[in-house]
Symmetry: C2
């Protein structure tokens, strides 16, 4: 597949109503994204054929390239006119892809972006090892780039992601999980890489600390909003359009905000029901149990409240960009906020 | 546990007859090793309690600390008198520990160093994620150290290890695996980190290229010898003394040198037998099949030949140190070669 086509597909394979945001983004970073894709293709190669085969399967699977796009747009926002940012954006995407591969092993997911997950096709073993390869390759690329500060940001993000995933594992099946614990999980497992991806854009442009911090904050709040929307979508009919199954989190006993709020607001009887499903994983009639759980979420407005909170974090992300004067890049980054939240429609 | 005690245990918990080599080594790097263990304990911490718990379980499990010892001794051999080498040695051990955690997931091993493996205790998910954490933490430590060249060496070693593990996966259950393919696997999955660990000692001491290369070659040949001995030991009665099961590789269908040679030398009937066991994994009477396979290895002398080849690589490792004048550190590194090979007794 040609990378130009690939970049175009990335731009077009989205839902309706978000085209404007994406067009604005592509206008700013389109050619850079082509270079990111070229770097990804060139650097996931290995003499061991299974590695590019498996890595290519997941990387080409129609991912949104959201995180590398953030690095590209942030660099442009900071007026960067060098050529290091596509390689750094590729590092970010390699880290993200590695975590996806390991996530699917951890979740025992059989689907990813609407097709068989890599571990469903090649098995857990290969997914673990190719994930390791991509982590390592990402650091090799950073070493080539040579900026210690960026290596520090991205290696720290990688360890924070792992901490967040372990924390998620620890809170799974535990209906007493607090909102704070949930927020700690999504900050670490999702938002930290968004924040790091944006911060890297400021660092590569050698911008002052205040702009770095502003882009970090933008990414952090955007990432939180993104994950809240994801956790909402898991219980939404929209999920099926995205090629995913409704209620995967419920089946896995993942304790996300819609569930935490429903548990907090439910009667003793409803709490007992949620404990049976999520803690004991005792669901003799899974479809009926999922339907009842979703009824509770509707009754207590927990799904819409999850979206409301996502919007609030989206507002914080927008506000974080205040230090920057208006520009096409700024419009593009503001548009990404809409794009992430409008996935609910 | 105090780190001083821990270092002492590391020195004493070995088989018989190797005490002299280890005493020599400890004389050279004993205090440095205490600092490595302190760094490991201090830097595997996390606010997520399961991480130090699981990482500590595997790190404290009586590992030989062989790879960090190589970094320490190589630095001393190069006359290094600074204080960076214990932290770099800890990086090497973190990378090794991460690969062990992922290996056990990949192999579905229930035992590691004679006790339950981490994945047997905490599950595959936690093992994958804590392995990721340790990889990331290792790079964070390297960034703190600040030497780009060392980051390049260790990130490259990490991706080569992953390639070797994938190659091993691809050759598993394939009795047509060549000796060359087998050698490529063990160079990548085992020897590359030995080589990198040694090379780092020369780099931190800012020694010329020829000494760097000499230490790399020493480590590479030592690592090959080490893995050959490991693959021999899998079929040796000695294995049980080490708290491992005889024939694990056979059960997993791993194609190691003792099997490759037996297959090459066997009759058609014997080849068919090995294919049934290793390719088809069709072993209705496993104990009898393993016994018959070991009979073939004895008949064709493949186990002793594996040791002979290990010795030859051990000789190459020793020869690689020729550029260095005699010193306590050199004696210690020569002693490690004996230690690695004498594990067969």
């Amino acid at each position: 597949m040609s990378n130009a086509v690939n970049a175009k597909e990335t731009a077009s394979a989205r839902g309706e109503g978000m085209d404007a945001a994406l067009d604005a983004l592509m206008k700013v970073v389109g050619p850079d994204l082509v270079r990111v894709n070229e770097t990804i293709m060139a650097r996931m190669t290995s003499s061991v054929g299974l590695i590019p085969q498996l890595a290519g399967y997941i990387i080409a699977a129609g991912g949104k390239r959201l995180r590398p796009l953030l690095t590209l747009a942030a660099a442009r926002l900071c007026g960067y006119d060098g050529d290091r940012h596509p390689k750094l954006a590729a590092c970010v995407e390699f880290i993200h892809t590695a975590t996806l591969l390991h996530d699917d092993v951890v979740d025992e997911s059989m689907l990813r972006r609407g097709r068989d997950s890599a571990n469903a096709v090649w098995g857990n073993k290969a997914s673990v090892l190719v994930g390791d390869f991509l982590f390592a390759r990402s650091f090799e690329l950073m070493v080539e780039d040579g900026a210690l500060k960026i290596m520090g940001i991205l290696s720290n993000a990688t360890s924070v992601i792992a901490e967040g995933e372990v924390l998620q594992l620890v809170t799974a099946n535990d209906t007493s999980t607090t909102e704070d614990a949930y927020m700690a999980v999504i900050r670490a497992k999702t938002a930290q890489l968004f924040a790091a991806a944006c911060q890297v854009g400021a660092v590569v442009a050698e911008r002052p600390e205040v702009e770095e911090q502003a882009l970090f904050d933008y990414g952090m709040n955007l990432g939180i909003a993104f994950q809240l929307v994801d956790d909402y979508l898991d219980y939404s009919a929209k999920q099926q359009e995205l090629g995913k199954t409704v209620g995967d989190d419920f089946m896995d006993g993942k304790i996300t905000l819609p569930v935490i709020l429903a548990y907090a607001r439910g009667t003793d009887e409803e709490k007992a029901f949620l404990r049976r499903c999520l803690e004991d994983q005792d669901m003799p009639d899974y479809e009926a149990d999922l339907a009842h759980a979703m009824e509770l979420m509707k009754r207590y407005d927990t799904l819409s409240e999850t979206v409301v909170r996502a919007r609030a974090f989206g507002d914080k992300a927008r506000a974080a960009l205040a230090p920057f004067p208006d520009s096409e890049a700024k419009s593009a980054l503001l548009g990404i906020v809409d794009f992430c939240i409008d996935r609910v429609y």
